[in-house]
Every structure is written in structure tokens, then in C-alpha cells.
Symmetry: C2
Subunit: 310 residues, 2 copies
């Protein structure tokens, strides 16, 4: 339990850490339609619905994010036993969103553009709801490099396909490059949680974010492929030398946008295969299902520790 | 009805137009797991399931693609009345896939990476199923430039955020640029169908494909925005001058990949708003729902004509 002094300190920290947008236009909008969530400031009371959110966990698959809210809700005693968690974005099939107490769980689909749309609308939602002291964690799947399948990687730096910690996008026809910094302290806290759990191998390493799953990650089994096995291996080895331990498709814009809006953020992904050994994901369904629970267990444990210490 | 001579000609054309992959490795695989479809060559008889496919329609939203298969099935008399169309990819929630006779309807999520994963696995599926004479059409939603909302755009060329007909990706750390050609004859055929229908405004124009919905399309209402209304308008006007009539997020890689694999392809998108007038999609739900049926009606009409002439 926290002392009264600690609680006051936390409240002050919270006040200083209201979610900030990098866009002065939003404050002047009469109505803000969060189109891909099927929510709007004129039809939904966002402060009442989301004002208490402190942890947002995001991941590609809607069913996995529903499983996560059930898991944290029951493990952390956040709701009534057997309580259902309806999809808050039921008016659209672009994303799914679930809530239990201070935890929000949102799906983001696959790839940088898909997660970027979601993050724009999520940050506006948190802003309109006047949330403060929010931590955002991506819990995902990835391909590992030189790791036993099922290992979990906590991302130190998200790097691009040339191993640079940068996210490049085109704004009004011009290239804009943003940094992909993640919160170092949060990496340490999550790493300590993994050590406490001792349930599976967890490493801290760089995560390569690509715009394609097949050619973009050097796979030999896409519909298109114009390089050899040797060239693929050389590329993956170069990535490993640059500190890359896993490859996925969302971390760069996630890190860049969270950092731009002052949100504490982390990326925790399980590796479904070792890309040095192959390209296809062939493990049995039950094995993959268990792997996918690992980031959930680690982040659930982290949230429990935070709530106990609050 | 076609004459016997025409039918023979069609069969010969079909033989010459088996779906081709640009990857010699696939023919040598013992098993090919189409991971994001939840299908595999060792667990599913792909030629029996998909061998008769001639039209593949793809779109972002799973529910819209389910609505499309219901629509073409009933309009074209492809199935028994009231027949259900189960999701062929029910084992995963990454994509949804439905089939009625020679028509396959597949969702692809939002953005270039999401549709690219789907297309890699779709083309491998069509190859394993030994399909021939396949036409692929994206039916989607978009933002218009200088068009009344609800107008339908048939894409002449897919262009990037600098209005070039190119798709750039990174393969083994190196930039690769591919052309984004679409089938000119198919554009004409679809345009004729629209003239025959006379149900809504349809234009042929260039389609700009971006990697982001907010900053990437010059919106002023994202979580981040570092430009003015005047700069936005100048950019959209420059796009209009370059022949761009709508903006979406998948056409470039769709055109590049279909072209690389020799598939006849088209992009037909409805515009949900005029971006010269604003950024937010504020039309009532029923209006937007009717707009979204327009590409379905046009492409349904096109498929009917093709089947009647076959």
C-alpha cells in the first residue's frame, strides 16, 4: 500500500502527465469523430467512459486482445467474476476495444499504416477523456533471430530495415524522419518482471520493423522472391550483428508516435519461429496459442505490480 | 450465350493464363502454410476448394466482404437461395474469405503491409489451386478530391504521395521500385458497366496511395499535425492537377503485385467525402453504408456481364 505522501506525489505526477497531442487544431473542434473506432465526442461521454485508463495494451489480433482483457480482468480481480467485456468499437469492424478497470485493450491489425490510424484515434480518445499517467504497451508476435521459438523480446530500440532507429514517413509529399525512442526505465521494469516470473526466456534487444512480411523480411516463400538463401542469411546475420533479436511490423510508428505525444511506451513480442532456421510458421496451433499468451502474462504481471504499488 | 468456337478460344486463353508466381522456391516446397489464412497445402485440398475461381474481389472490411458475397451470390444466382457463406479463414482473425461459385471475396485490413501479406498468400493459393484466367478487383473506400461524396473512382494509375506511378519497398535493406500499372482494357470495361448502370457518378482517374491516413493524407485532425490549412490545400490541389481524384491506402502494392504475377487487376473505390471540403467523415451511417455498396453494385454488374458472355 502506498502512503498518503506517495499518493499525493502520484497525483501531482499524473497532473503533469495528461495526454498531450501535437496538434492545436483538436482543441478547437466542435465535434471529433473517431471514425475507425465508431466513437465521437458528440455521441459518447469519453471522460466518463475512459477517464480512469492508466494502461493501454495493443496488439494485432482482435481475438487476442479480447483474450487479454479476460486474462487481466480475472488475474488482477478488476471486474466481477464471469463479467463479459463487450467490444466498445462494435459499431465498426476496423478495430476491437475492451476495457477492465484502468486497463484498455485495443487491436490494431497488421502493419504500420493500420496501427498508425488506431494510434491517432487512441491518443485523441485519451486526450478528450482527460487521461493522465498513461502507459502504452504493444503485446505482439514476431519472428526471432537466433532465439529459441517462444522467447519473448522486450524492445530496446525499434530499427528500420537498414537497422537505423528511425521512422520515415511522407507528409505533404516530403520525407519526415522521426526517432523511435522507447522508455528505458520501462524496459528495465518489464525486464525485472520477467526475471520475477521465470516462466519463459525473455531478452532485451532491438526490434526490426518492416513494411512487408515476405520480401521485406527476407522470406524465401512469398509469391515474389528475387534473392537467394545465402543473401537472405547474410541479411539476417547483419541484423543480428546490429543487435536485432526479432522482426515485426508495427514497432517503429508505435515508438515514434508515443514518444511524440509524451506517452511512456514499450514493445513486448513473443517470437513464433527462429528466422535463421526457416520462414514458415509450422508449430502446432496449441503451441503457438501458448506462445501468444507469454507477452500477456508478462504485461499482466507488470500491471499487477504497478497497481499494488500505486 | 457463347458459341462453341468462343468457348474453345476462352479455354485456350485460360490455359495460357494460369496464375504465375515470381518465386521458383514455391514449386519445391513439400508443404506451404498460408499462415494468415489458416490454410495449408497439406491440410486443405486447394484445387478442389478454389480451382474454379475466376474473380477475386478484395476490400478492407471483413463485414463488407461478407456482404459482397451475399450480394453477388443472390444477384447472380450463384448459390441456393438463403445459402450461408461460411468464412473459409475461420481458423484465424487476420483475414476473412468467402466464396460463391467462381467469385472469391477476401478482406485485407487497412494499409499496404496488411494487403501485401494477404496478396502473397492469395496468389500462392490461386497457384496451388491451379486457377487460370483470374481477374482481381479491389472494391474499397477512399477520400475524394473535387468529387461529390458517393462518387465512384475507377483507378487509371495508382500513384504515390509525390504523384509518381511507383511503389517503393525495401528488400534485404535495399530500395526496390516497382511500377503500378493496371489493366487499361479492364478500366474501359468497368467504365462501360458504370455507364450502363447509371446509378451514381463514376469517373476514371488517378488514385493516390499513402502509408498514413492522417498526416500522410494532409489531414488537419490527427493526433499530430505540423502544417497549416493553406499548405494542406496546396498539396491536395497539386494532387488534383496531377490527375488524382481519390486517396486510399492499398492500391499501389495491389497494382504492383498483380502486375508482377500477370493478373488482370482493377481498383474501384467510392469516395466517402471531398477532402477539399474537410477531413472528418461525418455523413450519417445509412448514407455511408449505401455509398459502400456502390463499388459492389458496379463490380457485381461487371461479373454478371462476364459470366453471361463466357
Amino acid at each position: 500500500m502506498a502512503s498518503a505522501g506517495n499518493q499525493t506525489k502520484e497525483l501531482e505526477k499524473d497532473k503533469a502527465s495528461f495526454v498531450q497531442l501535437c496538434n492545436p487544431n483538436i482543441a478547437t473542434l466542435k465535434e471529433d469523430v473517431l471514425y475507425h473506432f465508431g466513437l465521437s465526442t458528440s455521441t459518447h461521454d469519453l471522460p466518463a467512459m475512459f477517464g480512469d485508463v492508466k494502461f493501454v495494451c495493443v496488439g494485432g489480433s482482435p481475438s487476442r486482445m479480447k483474450a487479454f482483457i479476460k486474462y487481466v480482468s480475472s488475474e488482477l480481480g478488476l471486474g466481477r467474476p464471469g463479467e463479459d467485456h463487450p467490444n466498445i468499437c462494435a459499431g465498426t469492424d476496423r478495430y476491437a476495444m475492451f476495457k477492465a478497470g484502468p486497463v484498455l485493450s485495443v487491436s490494431h491489425g497488421m502493419g504500420v499504416p493500420s496501427i498508425a490510424i488506431m494510434l491517432h484515434e487512441l491518443f485523441k480518445l485519451l486526450y478528450h477523456a482527460r487521461c493522465s499517467g498513461v502507459t502504452v504497451i504493444r503485446i505482439g508476435t514476431s519472428g526471432g533471430i537466433g532465439l529459441e521459438p517462444g522467447s519473448v523480446v522486450i524492445t530496446r530500440q525499434s530499427v528500420d530495415a537498414r537497422f537505423k532507429p528511425e521512422f520515415e514517413q511522407v507528409v505533404l509529399g516530403k520525407r519526415v524522419v522521426r526517432r523511435t525512442d522507447l522508455d528505458e526505465q520501462l524496459v528495465r521494469e518489464l525486464s525485472e518482471c520477467a526475471e520475477g516470473l521465470r516462466e519463459f526466456t525473455t531478452v532485451v534487444g532491438n526490434t526490426m520493423c518492416t513494411l512487408d512480411f515476405y520480401e521485406g523480411q527476407g522470406r524465401l516463400d512469398g509469391a515474389l522472391c528475387c534473392y537467394t538463401e545465402a543473401e537472405k542469411q547474410a541479411y539476417l546475420q547483419a541484423a543480428h550483428t546490429a543487435g536485432v533479436r526479432n522482426i515485426e511490423m508495427e514497432s517503429s510508428v508505435f515508438a515514434a508516435m508515443c514518444s511524440a505525444c509524451g506517452l511512456r511506451a514499450a514493445v513486448v513480442c513473443v517470437t513464433l519461429l527462429d528466422r535463421l532456421e526457416g520462414d514458415q510458421i509450422r508449430s502446432p496451433h496449441e503451441v503457438l496459442a501458448e506462445y501468444q499468451q507469454r507477452p500477456q502474462r508478462l504485461v499482466g504481471h507488470f500491471i499487477r505490480k504497478c497497481l499494488a504499488g500505486a
